[in-house]
Assembly symmetry: C2
DNA sequence: TAACTATACGGAGACATCCTCCGGTTCTAC
DNA sequence: GTAGAACCGGAGGATGTCTCCGTATAGTTA
């Protein structure tokens, strides 16, 4: 990769991250290119579409969540550890309006790397909680992550109610029926 | 309302419903107008924006769900009745790709009529299930509807897995923790 | 039934966004 | 220094939303 190409790639990634945080992931790609000081053509050459750019931005952010999972894997209460981690995932997704929606869309495999990484980290926590008998058998990490993303989506569509995420999350964790 | 205006209004509503089912709620409004045999200007005069049209289409569909709730209010198992009804809501939303997303968006009050109607119907079922001691206190119908919409959203983003809705719904109902 | 007027119609067009294409420029290897 | 591969960037086609206003028509009155 030529030096100028590398420089532009890095700038685009950084600007995209900022723009996603400030304006959500459906920000105009032209804006990102302009702020990065490059033309729109350059953006599209490096990242064939919006999801390719999103994937590149977010894959770099997953290290923190993976590390968090590794720290939590030895916790005293495996079920709590799982929920703490899921909440971290939610908090991360919530930083970027639209990210949850993209992660949920299974059909297009463009965010596949991100999703595989999350399943790997969370799967270990879930397995341990199930071995400890604290979480129901038959539950799969993919479904837990879907539910978490869905709840983030709810929360971001109700920005005036800051507690939405916590309420719905505890609903899902404790169930609706009297135990 | 002039006769031609009424005729066009009805045609638009019917075409919009079909288009929403076939192509999802983000179908091009021009297509709806064309199929209804009117110009795009006519569509926008009757329905100032896409949500206004959606609201008009779906408010007519809610009678069935309201009736269902009235039937279920005397069921033997109040908690089951609530979940049966929530599943019906989910099944209805699932007919129209994008409807759940619109219903979730609290901030814009454009689907307000639809949401108020759903809360009214579901609220009675929830109250009865709680009085019977079968559903946890503190749970609100608005949150249950949000969770249901969120799960529909998940399901419609995973069209290859038909069981997604049922699995996530039972997750939420039974909880994740061992009871 | 014919003229009149308020109302509705409909499409051209302004604007926004996505994405592609290709002529011109810049870097790098020799 | 130069040749050419790699890269840049913006013009422009495609699609979609929504507005504006000249034209057509339904309904009313004489």
């Amino acid at each position: 990769m030529r030096a100028d190409a590398q420089r532009n790639y890095d700038r685009l990634l950084e600007e995209a991250k900022q723009a996603f945080i400030v304006h959500g992931t459906d920000v105009a790609l032209e804006d990102i290119a302009r702020h990065a000081g490059v033309g729109i053509g350059t953006l599209y050459r490096h990242f064939p579409d919006r999801y390719s750019l999103m994937n590149a931005v977010f894959i770099r952010e997953l290290d923190a969540l993976t590390e968090r999972a590794e720290t939590l894997i030895d916790a005293d209460e495996p079920a709590d550890a799982l929920f703490v981690w899921l909440r971290s995932v939610g908090a991360h997704s919530a930083m970027y309006r639209g990210l949850s929606s993209a992660i949920l869309a299974q059909s297009d495999g463009r965010m596949l790397q991100c999703k595989a990484r999350l399943r790997e980290s969370g799967g270990a926590l879930l397995a341990r909680a199930q071995e400890a008998g604290a979480v129901r058998e038959g539950i799969e990490i993919a479904d837990l992550l879907k539910l978490t993303s869905a709840i983030v989506l709810c929360a971001e569509k109700n920005p005036e109610d800051r507690k939405t995420f916590d309420r719905l999350m505890s609903l899902a964790v404790n169930g609706i029926l009297v135990g």
